[in-house]
Symmetry: C2
Subunit: 195 residues, 2 copies
DNA sequence: TACAGATTTGAACGATCGTTCAAATTTGGT
DNA sequence: ACCAAATTTGAACGATCGTTCAAATCTGTA
């Protein structure tokens, strides 16, 4: 019975972090439960005290990263700002989220490995984020700030540019998360602006 | 001894296509050699007549998709066009390449599963494409067509938006490849333009 | 210190998978 | 129709992996 003590909840988070890193590097099926455990100096049998099975760990990773992403979205939605400034903060915030909070893991983990019920929960949460982003785009178009276009396609383009960061970002590299956030926000908002 | 007859070369390509689809859906380690074979009504043992091992199949997938991508790049570079029009054609061409030629598989397949020597070959080819894209961006900035910025970061943003198509594109969906190509080219070039 | 519950261990299991290979079958040219 | 080469089969292997679990150990508290 985990999650009773505070220590246990911390341990769960550590496991999710180790798993997210392993899944990102090797893919869900390529990462072994043992290597997730070894990175924390645990044994693999021990992980089953905190999670039912490997799928449950993947589900936990998705829930966690989508959770912080939705928090960011809600924070941005709460501020009284015009759509262009909203979008800029969402993009910059998402860059920081991927790099500084999720340590390189974005919303890129595999979904197909999850059984239907868990898959649906994750997809529903992801769709909430997508709809939030599309709404900002639509509002900008309605107010004449953004050039007309298909918000769905544009949201995909933005999410692709952002999530792709997981594939090339190297914490030892030269690019600092502030620079990336500013560059991406500039570029991806500028492409929408009217005259 | 494969590849002697024309039939054999075709078979090799069919295997690469089936494998690319399987790798995209399930990931390299999640896709089994048997399911790659079954989609072609072959037995898994038979694949080993055409490829040394599973890694060799993944390598073949990378070589093929990077090959057509580099062909596109060279075609675009050969035309006497200003950088903005060059970029537009490269982006639109890449969308068509992912959707129509690679059937949904972009440059998204896993690299980490490859042994060092093969990995280096693939990375070298990928870098050639990246450098080509960055050069177009740099030329545009030098000519005052594009706003100044870090070509490396901007190239990552563009490649992310494009490769992410593999994750959401559904051939049964509403979005046609022409629409996507036009939207993406418009958006991603507009973000660079000066006044 | 003693005890109950929380946590960890380590070995064992069944299943899946990549790979091999000798034998069988098919193919195309003469 | 015959033959040599090309291709396919199907069974078998060893290795890896996810999962289970009874026993051992640790932790906080009375």
């Amino acid at each position: 019975m985990p999650r009773r003590t505070p220590r246990s909840a911390e341990r769960r988070l550590e496991i999710l972090q180790s798993a997210a890193a392993a899944f990102r590097r090797r893919g869900y099926h390529g990462a072994s439960v043992e290597e997730i455990a070894r990175a924390l100096k645990m044994t693999k049998g021990n992980l089953y005290y905190y999670f039912r099975d490997k799928q449950d760990i993947l589900f936990g990773c998705h829930e966690y990263s989508l959770g912080v992403a939705l928090e960011l979205l809600e924070r941005v939605e709460a501020e009284p700002l015009p759509p262009d400034e909203r979008l800029r903060r969402l993009i910059a915030g998402f860059v920081h989220l991927i790099i500084d909070e999720l340590h390189g893991t974005g919303l890129t983990l595999e979904l197909e490995a999850l059984p239907r019920p868990l898959w649906q929960k994750v997809v529903a949460k992801r769709d909430r984020f997508d709809r939030g982003l599309r709404k900002i785009l639509q509002d900008g178009m309605d107010q004449g700030l953004f050039v007309p276009g298909d918000p769905k396609l544009l949201a995909f383009a933005i999410m692709g540019a952002l999530n792709w960061i997981s594939r090339w970002y190297d914490p030892r590299g030269e690019a600092h998360s502030d620079d990336i956030a500013a560059s991406f926000a500039d570029y991806l908002v500028a492409g929408l602006r009217t005259g």
